[in-house]
């Protein structure tokens, strides 16, 4: 018992000697994000990049769909995770201006688990699978870009053509989109 005490004191001394300044506290959010990142199954179509390697709460996800209407495009999303994660969902924004029924021109993404259906047992993998799914199966019933949704509902073939035009940097109904191929 005595030995444990003296060991503890020594440890304390060593910590104080280092000058307290180096004491970076790892937050609950960081711990959880670290775990989530380890479990991330990105496959061949997705990639993460960390602009600041010391900051795992802010990163970019790049998706290159290899099938579906958005095949061949490169889409990036910024992930901003706050200290209340996993009680708050990550904030996800598309960096490009794209033609998609569930993504508006500012890049806001309409995905249920990013808003009302988020729960803390979901992980980052669930989010990226959700994003990937939006490119395979755009959803016209819950639109953020109403015109794109209308096009998809009325004429799927015309919608597909619009997607190709927009991805090439062209204009659809007077709105010019960013080139992503």
């Amino acid at each position: 018992m005595l030995k444990i005490w003296s060991m503890k004191q020594q440890q304390q001394k060593a910590e104080n000697a280092e000058g307290g300044k180096k004491k970076k506290k790892v937050t609950a959010a960081q711990l959880r994000v670290q775990r989530d990142l380890q479990e991330l199954a990105l496959g061949s179509t997705m990639k993460t990049t960390f602009p600041n390697p010391d900051d795992i709460l802010n990163f970019t996800l790049t998706i290159e769909p290899d099938e579906g209407m958005y095949k061949g495009g490169t889409f990036s999303f910024t992930f901003t995770i706050n200290q209340n994660f996993p009680h708050d969902p990550p904030k996800v924004k598309c960096s490009q201006k794209i033609y998609h029924p569930n993504i508006d021109l500012e890049g806001n993404v309409c995905l249920n688990i990013l808003r009302e259906d988020w729960k803390p047992v979901l992980n980052l993998n669930a989010v990226i699978v959700g994003l990937q799914f939006l490119f395979l199966e755009p959803n016209a019933s819950d639109p953020l870009n109403k015109e794109a949704a209308e096009d998809l509902r009325l004429n799927r073939e015309a919608f597909k053509r619009n997607v190709r035009t927009a991805m090439g940097g062209g204009a659809v109904k007077g709105i010019t989109y960013e080139r992503v191929i």
């Binding site: 959880r32 775990r35 009302e116 803390p120």
Partner: protein, 88 residues
């Protein structure tokens, strides 16, 4: 030979009655560890067992339940979260 015991120290170990590899769904830390805000496991950082069969660190679940967006639901199954009393 007679032995006289002058002094003795008792040592005990304990653990939660949970499967070894199960983790809290909210913080993903093992139940035998603490929630991320606590330093020592034990009564100060206990577990909550839900009637729906899902368990969490008490602190993890309370943070969630106190949030308006939780609507009082279990983060696993979205049933109303009610915890079991000890004797149930």
């Amino acid at each position: 030979m007679k032995v006289k015991i002058k002094e003795w120290n008792a040592i005990a170990t304990w653990r939660w009655n949970m499967p070894d590899d199960e983790v809290c769904g909210i913080c993903r830390v093992q139940f035998d560890g603490t929630c991320p805000t606590c330093k020592f496991p034990g009564d100060d950082c206990s577990l909550l067992l839900g009637k729906c069969g899902h368990s969490f660190h008490m602190h993890c679940l309370l943070t969630w339940i106190q949030q308006e967006s939780s609507k009082g639901l279990c983060p696993m199954c979205r049933q109303k979260f009610e915890w079991k009393q000890n004797d149930e």
